[in-house]
């Protein structure tokens, strides 16, 4: 118990600008939410470009979307949702002070996150082999509008790429959390880092929840 109390004393040491731990936690949480707003707007520019071009060049976008593998996309969505589930369990474990559970759930989340990135890498690799990467060698079967088809894939790579970059950052944060929780830094009184990392992780999940139907599922019923 002495060990625990020591850790508590260390982590509860308030940063000097704050009066109470409550204030510090509130500020950190609010800061993360405000940061997430900036992320919404950051992805927002891409969502706007996507919406405009999908509207103007709908048939080509539908064709290009159909060339993606919806099953893999759906599986990857499920993987990410599972990781959100394990993340929320990790947050819960830190709320109730179960250090071992916290570590296990963080590891699970990390594994699922890496799995998502692995599947993503496999998909991108496929695009390179199918000449679906924008550039001089780009070619999509079945349309004369190569430029517009290329637009779809430009947006596909920009959006999934930026999302993957956020996943990568998320995995880094998870690793850091893992080290900290291994050292027993988190207690029910001080678990703000776990909490706000959770917010970030779920947010990245939400972005994918929209990317999946928008990129993979346009006009699937045509069965192309």
């Amino acid at each position: 118990m002495a060990n625990h109390a020591e850790a508590q004393a260390e982590t509860l040491a308030l940063r000097e600008q704050f009066d109470t731990a409550e204030q510090q936690k509130d500020a950190s949480t609010l800061g993360m939410w405000v940061f997430l707003i900036t992320e919404i707007m950051f992805f927002g520019g891409l969502f706007l470009a996507y919406t405009v071009y999908r509207d103007i060049y709908f048939p080509v976008f539908a064709l290009a979307s159909s060339s993606l593998n919806a099953v893999i996309g759906a599986i990857n969505t499920a993987v990410l949702l599972c990781s959100s589930f394990t993340m929320v369990l990790a947050v819960r474990a830190s709320q109730v002070g179960q250090r071992n559970a916290l570590i296990i759930f963080l590891i699970l989340t990390l594994i699922l996150g890496v799995a998502f990135l692995g599947v993503k890498a496999y998909e991108w690799n496929e695009k390179f082999q199918e000449h679906h990467v924008p550039g001089p060698t780009f070619h999509l079967e079945g349309t004369g509008q190569q430029g517009e088809a290329q637009l779809f894939f430009s947006l596909y790579f920009a959006m999934t790429g930026l999302h993957a970059l956020h996943m990568l950052v998320g995995c880094g944060i998870l690793t850091w959390l893992l080290i900290q929780s291994w050292k027993g830094k988190f207690t029910p009184e001080y678990m703000t880092p776990v909490d706000i990392a959770g917010l970030y992780w779920h947010f990245v999940d939400i972005i994918w929840i929209f990317l999946f139907p928008l990129l993979y599922l346009i006009d699937r019923h045509l069965g192309r």
Binding site: Q17, D26, L30, V34, F43, G45, G147, S154, F157
Partner: protein
């Protein structure tokens, strides 16, 4: 720099020494000074470009520099002044220093993020400086596609990276301010007891948070387009160059308010202190800042009236643009009304405040001209627009900045600036400014397009007048630089509250101690309650 009186006690300036104690500081006051140094540097770099532009435009044929060079000059002038001077100017220096003090906090909510944001500005600035030294960039600060993505052979990518990085600096400053205002107010400091400077910075921070990420992603797309030729804005591949303009102005119109709202915040403090009255219509002025921040996001399409944007969208944007005029008008009227039956002092900061109100009025009113669809068709992309936004950004933002710098100089350094020189320089700046930019309204209506290296002979007289004004203005800007540095050593030692002002920042010593207050303040009065600072008074 340290006075005999100040040596006796510890201030944020003498608490520690050495370059490391500055570069690794988490003290918002020291970070503010780092910013002050940085933005001043960029101001003079941008000013040097402006000087060359004005000298070049003395003659219609363009003999001094080549067209390539001229195009790079106005681009780098715009990029430097907007992204590396005006946007960080007031929030990151005066805001950083005084926002926590005014609400009675020891520091911002996230001091390490505050330091990080300064480093981001410096890194972004280094990218931009590298681009300038390596050969410059010639796209205009607006980076319109497809010129910037396909046709320009200059250092677009390095400049875009610089602005991208500096953008994150701005976002983090905004984030810090929002959280600080929400979570760090002293006991008793309710929202409606906050100085209006804080309200203005809160509104500014909202714009920084909501707008800047869109600029970042837009520049990212320009970057991708230039490097990978992905076609997002390339008409040859079906891309829409006007979409770029929507994305760009979604940020860059509100960005104008990032520059001018903090200056309005400063003017509130000046007008109140130097007429010794609370700002007339406090809550209207407070809410008008928020209204400007919100409405500012609904009007960006007024930059696109002749861009092949649809007529109907143009009408909506024009209509909404006039709504922004109302909160701006409310502010001007309330400042004027504050003077009524006040006790008005003509100290230098107040002269700047007068200058701000006058020039902002002209800038705002000419904004009505360019928001009117039929008139904008003629004046857009001419010197009329150039004059209009310089009235807002130089006449408005820089006047506010200089006013604030004079006002808080004794608090920051513990020394007074020389009053006579300061008044003289305020006058020189005001006159020089008007001589520089007023002729440009006429030039613009006559049809002189902006970004022209050479021009028809009949415009020369007005250009010469403008250049003459610019040289006066340059002298005006150099003067404070000199006497501020002079005052660090020779200035009169300032007391805690030389102006008899009411803000919490004046209730502590000059310069302030490391944690701002020796005893944490508890607020029991409304903002601008002068009975608290003047003991015996004659009520007028």
């Amino acid at each position: 720099m340290i006075t005999a009186a100040a040596q006796e006690r510890e201030t944020y300036l003498n608490a520690s020494y050495g370059i490391k104690s500055w570069l690794l500081t988490k003290d918002h006051k020291r970070i503010a000074l780092l910013y002050l140094f940085t933005v001043t540097l960029f101001f003079f770099i941008g000013g040097a470009f402006a000087t060359l532009i004005r000298i070049e435009l003395l003659t219609p044929q363009g003999g001094l520099v080549s067209s390539e060079t001229y195009n790079k000059l106005f681009t780098m002038h715009g990029v430097t002044m907007i992204f590396f001077f005006l946007i960080p100017s007031i929030p990151a220096t005066l805001g950083n220093f005084f926002l926590p003090m005014m609400i009675g906090a020891r520091d911002l909510a996230f001091p390490r993020i505050n330091l990080l944001s300064w480093y981001l500005l410096v890194i972004g600035g280094l990218f931009a400086l590298f681009a300038m030294l390596a050969g410059g960039v010639d796209t205009g600060w607006t980076f319109y596609t497809p010129y910037s993505t396909t046709y320009s052979n200059t250092w677009v990518i390095a400049t875009a990276i610089g602005i991208f990085v500096a953008g994150f600096s701005s976002i983090l400053t905004g984030l810090n301010f929002v959280v600080t205002v929400h979570r760090m107010r002293a006991p008793g400091m309710t929202w409606f007891r906050m100085p209006l400077f804080v309200w203005a910075h809160y509104a500014t921070a909202l714009i920084q948070i909501l707008g800047t990420p869109v600029l970042a992603v837009t520049l990212l797309l320009v970057f991708c387009e230039r490097v990978f030729h992905i076609g997002i804005f390339d008409p040859a591949l079906g891309g829409d160059p006007v979409l770029f303009q929507h994305l760009f102005w979604f940020y860059s119109h509100p960005a104008v308010y990032i520059m001018v709202l903090p200056a309005m915040g400063v003017v509130n403090e000046l007008v109140s202190t130097f007429s010794r009255k609370p700002i007339f219509g406090y809550s209207f002025v407070a809410f008008s800042s928020l209204a400007i921040a919100v409405l500012g996001f609904l009007v960006w399409g007024h930059h696109l009236f002749v861009s092949t944007q649809s007529v109907y969208a143009g009408m909506v944007f024009s209509f909404l643009s006039y709504f922004v005029a109302i909160p701006s008008a409310i502010k001007v009227f309330n400042w004027t009304a504050t003077l009524y039956k006040g006790s008005i002092s003509f100290a230098t900061p107040m002269l700047y405040a007068f200058g701000f109100i006058g020039l902002f009025t002209v800038g705002g009113l000419t904004g009505l001209f360019v928001a009117s669809l039929g008139l904008d068709v003629h004046v857009t992309d001419t010197y009329f627009v150039v004059a209009h936004f310089h009235y807002i950004m130089v006449g408005g933002a820089i006047m506010g900045y200089l006013g604030g710098l004079h006002y808080w100089w004794p608090k920051i350094t513990g020394r007074m600036y020389p009053e006579l020189w300061a008044r003289l320089s305020a006058l020189v700046i005001f006159l020089g400014f008007n001589l520089t930019f007023f002729p440009q309204f006429i030039l613009g209506y006559l049809g002189m397009p902006r970004r022209y290296h050479t021009y028809p002979d009949e415009f020369q007289v007005l250009h010469v007048l403008s250049t003459a004004g610019a040289s006066v203005l340059a002298v005006g800007y150099l003067m404070p630089m000199v006497y501020f540095i002079w005052s660090l050593r020779y200035g009169q030692v300032a007391g805690a509250n030389p102006w008899g002002a009411t803000g919490l920042e004046w209730q502590t010593a000059s310069p302030p101690p490391v944690h701002n207050f020796d005893e944490m303040p508890v607020v029991t009065h409304e903002a601008y309650d002068y009975t608290t600072v003047l003991g015996e008074v004659e009520v007028g």
